[in-house]
């Protein structure tokens, strides 16, 4: 029996992981820069990556709902099973909420998202500067929430792999064989 995620699930996981790991610090860095063409470019890249993450998330959720993930490694304490599921659900929620809040914030502040500079993404709400300022705070706090969960998620994966030496992480790796 194959105790591993499907290749599309693995591909989406790592592609989105890469994009999130790139755009998270980019968002933090760019917002404190003085206004310059460089800053406007970085904002555009940040938004493009965020919108792509949002689109990939839709594909990923659809895939997840139609493909059963591999079972967790055997013998986990009950609390770890609950924790793993809770963190996964929360990560999905934040992968939705973070880009969505950024999108809404852009609309409210009057800077529409134009994917790759050519494809205008519809504004979900009309310009409303005070609301935009609130959404900016919401976007930031959701991002700190995402960072916290990522630390738990990655920490747990590494602990399973290097300390407990089980197959938890290998289930999500495309090339390392599952331990016998």
């Amino acid at each position: 029996m194959n105790n591993r995620y499907t290749y599309p699930a693995i591909g989406l996981h790592w592609l989105m992981a890469l994009m999130i790991v790139l755009t998270w610090p980019l968002g933090l860095y760019m917002s404190d820069l003085p206004l310059s063409p460089y800053k406007l470019q970085l904002y555009a890249y940040h938004k493009w990556i965020g919108m792509v993450v949002l689109m990939l998330l839709i594909a990923r959720v659809l895939w997840r709902l139609t493909h059963r993930p591999p079972a967790l490694v055997a013998g986990l304490p009950r609390w770890q099973v609950v924790a793993a599921h809770s963190v996964h659900v929360a990560l999905y929620g934040l992968m939705l909420a973070v880009p969505l809040s950024g999108w809404l914030m852009s609309s409210a502040l009057g800077f529409q998202v134009v994917l790759f500079g050519v494809l205008p993404v519809p504004d979900l709400i009309s310009i409303n500067k005070p609301l935009g300022a609130t959404l900016k705070s919401v976007h930031e706090w959701l991002n700190y929430g995402l960072l916290s969960l990522l630390i738990i998620h990655v920490g747990a994966a590494l602990q399973h792999h290097f300390m407990l030496k089980d197959d938890t992480l290998r289930r999500m790796l495309p090339c390392l064989g599952v331990r016998k």
């Binding site: 206004l35 063409p37 406007l40 904002y43 555009a44 790759f116 500079g117």
Partner: protein, 182 residues
């Protein structure tokens, strides 16, 4: 003879002034613009401007227009952008507080469409421009609507690093809507 001619001119000027619109309703007039940043259309506007416009669509030879835009009143979309565009690389409002358009002639195109030729001065640079606009009379008022693309490079609006038009496009579309009363 001179007296009669004088009377005729007076009568003519009175009859013309009935259709001559020269008072602007500032509250219902605006000057806005759309710039493109990384492909994103960002709208802004100038809250303060003054205009001396005199337009009788039946007698375009008498048409006059002088529009002065107070550049310090710009809203470019964010507080950060407002500070930036008032600076030296952009409008340099300390040295050049106003932009002006002075029309030298107005001619009819078709229907209610017209062209105003004149000189646009921004940042001390003068360029000849032709501004297409529509004039729609609603009886008591005359609505003037038009837009004109302005090249940032032609006026040095956004110099240095900002001259890179791949980030902020060279062309900025300026739109105006004036409600004139007679």
């Amino acid at each position: 003879m001179k007296l009669i001619l004088g009377w005729l001119l007076l009568i003519a000027s009175v009859s013309v002034s009935a259709a001559n619109f020269s008072v602007i309703n500032a509250a219902k007039s605006n000057i806005s613009f759309v710039s493109k940043q990384m492909g994103v259309a960002v709208t802004g506007n100038f809250a303060q401007f003054s205009s001396q416009i005199s337009l009788d669509t039946a007698n375009l030879a008498t048409a006059k227009a002088q529009i002065t835009v107070m550049l310090n009143s710009i809203d470019a979309g964010s507080a950060e952008a407002n500070d930036e565009v008032k600076g030296k690389a952009w409008f340099n409002v300390l040295a050049y507080p106003n932009a002006t358009f002075v029309a030298s002639s107005v001619k009819a195109v078709a229907g209610n469409r017209y062209l105003a030729a004149g000189k646009l001065t921004i940042k001390g640079r003068v360029r000849d421009v032709v501004v297409p606009f529509t004039a729609i009379s609603t009886g008591a008022s005359l609505l003037l609507d038009g837009s004109i693309p302005i090249s940032r490079a032609a006026f040095g609006i956004g110099e240095g690093a900002w001259a890179d038009t791949s980030v902020v496009a060279d062309e900025v579309q300026v739109r105006f809507h004036f409600m004139m009363l007679n």
